[in-house]
């Protein structure tokens, strides 16, 4: 199972606590995880990726195993630690910079 950590506001919007666990068949890519996440929680559609273009929203970041995957192609394979559920895939709200 893939573990996904969401920011506070998206956990509230999805009405869940803690981590999300998703069954994602291989190949486990950034796109596949986000598709599975939105399938499970339709209220999240449009909040991480724009409707229509499916582009990452400007102030959303994707982290995994201490790497920033925000700018990586959507077909990028996630590290084995994420695929095996050892490490989570993080959806992060970018720092406000205040």
């Amino acid at each position: 199972m893939i573990r996904v950590v969401l920011p506070f506001h998206l956990r509230n919007l999805a009405r869940m606590d803690g981590e999300v666990t998703l069954a994602v068949p291989p190949p486990v890519t950034v796109r596949a995880v986000l598709d599975a996440l939105e399938n499970k929680f339709p209220a999240l559609r449009g909040t991480i990726r724009d409707h229509g273009t499916l582009k990452r929203r400007p102030f959303i970041r994707y982290f995994a195993c201490k790497e920033d995957l925000s700018l990586a192609p959507m077909e990028t394979l996630l590290p084995d630690e994420v695929v095996n559920g050892v490490e989570p895939f993080l959806v992060v709200g970018a720092m406000a910079g205040g």
Binding site: P7, F8, H9, L10, L13, E38, N39, P42, A43, L44, R45, G46, T47, I48, D50, H51, G52, R57, F59, I60, G93, A94
Partner: protein, 388 residues
């Protein structure tokens, strides 16, 4: 006895205030959607327990929320458990999908070059007067969307952007459809106002729109003071019994029209400043109107640090200051365009919220005021429901 429900959108969540018809003892619930910018909440006139809310975030974009029980519980429309799967087994989750119709086209950008339309947020939701499942949403970048399924899906009424939108140009506050007025005597007629765009009307249910700006003058904002589009209309209002009479708070100037916007005339009269944002009409007196003068476009706070509502009982021209219960020194808040509303009791209740987080109520046509909420986040919008 009647009950009053006040729906408040703020910079950091929504609040719902309730009281009986005496309007003396208020209960506050909230924050709902804590931490999110709540641009607007409004109830359906056809089903007062049906509420729509626009929830927004710079990080996570636009969310539409709906309540079917007067604000006790909320859902994003189309995302309840039984609605999770579409025909193809793919989630719907389209209640926040605002896609411009066809090729989005371009409007003027700050540097004078054409710039593609980009959806940013919903500023205002106007539920239908007769159908709880139908509502209109005013968007930034300026456009109007319509739902007929309770907010599950939205479709643009793109005729509005055929009304010389290539000449619309955002101001510092963005370019949004912030006001939508439905004519209670003519279901095909809708008025909208757009900051830095102007004022527009459709007479065929939203297919075709035309600018209604004759008589507006903007000598300090536009190179052509009498331009057909581009005026920074801050708010328009009407009384349901006389929908052909419109009142407008423009960037500068308070105006009125007696022919559904075909011609406007100055109504600022003796106001200490005719700059401001909200304007509203007394529910029982169609010629009694309210504004909150603000010092200027450079100084967004009340003149002399005194928070004063001004009332005209003559539909403009002659104004009186209403100060009882309002701070009369050291007050430097603003009152935003969607942050004033009225109830329909006799005497009419008048309500407004400030950027300092106060919500004031007058239960006597504006003669005196009481703070019914304080220390909230900056108030973006105030709507009132009179429940029988």
């Amino acid at each position: 006895m009647s009950k009053i429900r006040v729906l408040i959108g703020t910079k950091k969540g929504a609040f719902i205030l309730t009281a009986d018809g005496t309007r003396k003892n208020w209960k506050i619930s909230g924050p709902h959607f804590a931490g999110w910018e709540m641009y607007h909440l409004k109830g359906s006139p056809a089903d007062p327990n049906r509420l729509y809310a626009s929830q927004s975030s710079g990080w996570f974009g636009q969310i539409i929320q709906r309540s079917d029980d007067g604000g006790k519980t909320w859902n994003t429309p189309g995302s309840s458990a039984e609605e999770l799967k579409g025909e193809q087994g793919f989630p719907k989750g389209e209640s926040n999908k605002f896609i411009y119709d066809g090729e989005p086209g371009k409007h003027l950008w700050y540097d004078g070059t054409p710039h593609p339309w980009e959806f940013k947020r919903i500023w205002h939701i106007e539920p239908s007067l007769t159908d709880p499942d139908t509502a209109y949403a005013g968007a930034e970048d300026a456009a109007i969307f319509k739902t007929t399924d309770g907010g599950k899906t939205w479709k643009e009424l793109s005729g509005l952007r055929k009304a010389k939108s290539q000449l619309w140009q955002p101001g510092a506050g963005g370019m949004a459809v912030h006001t939508i007025l439905l004519d209670p005597k003519n279901a095909k007629r809708i008025f909208v106002a757009i900051s830095a765009g102007g004022c527009f009307r459709t007479d065929d249910g939203g297919k075709n729109w035309k600018p209604i700006t004759k008589g507006l003058k903007s000598p300090y904002e536009l190179p052509d003071p009498d331009a057909e589009v581009g005026h920074c209309v801050h708010r328009i209002a009407l009384h349901p019994s006389k929908p052909e009479v419109l009142f407008m708070q423009k960037h500068w100037d308070v105006l009125r029209s007696d022919n559904a916007g075909d011609q406007w005339s100055e109504a600022s009269g003796n106001l200490p400043s005719d700059f401001g944002f909200p304007i509203d009409v007394n529910a029982n007196e169609p010629e009694t109107i309210y504004v909150v003068p603000i010092t200027s476009d450079s100084l967004h706070y009340p003149p002399d640090g005194k928070l004063r509502v001004y009332r005209s009982r003559t539909g403009g021209g002659e104004w009186e200051a209403l100060t009882k219960g309002l701070p009369q020194k050291n007050c430097y808040v603003n009152v935003l365009r969607d942050a004033m509303a009225v109830d329909s009791l006799d005497k009419c209740g008048v309500y407004f919220g400030t950027t300092g987080g106060q919500v004031y109520c007058s239960a006597n046509d504006g003669n005196s005021w009481t703070a019914i909420a304080e220390h909230l986040p900056a108030v973006y919008s105030v709507e009132v429901q009179t429940l029988k």
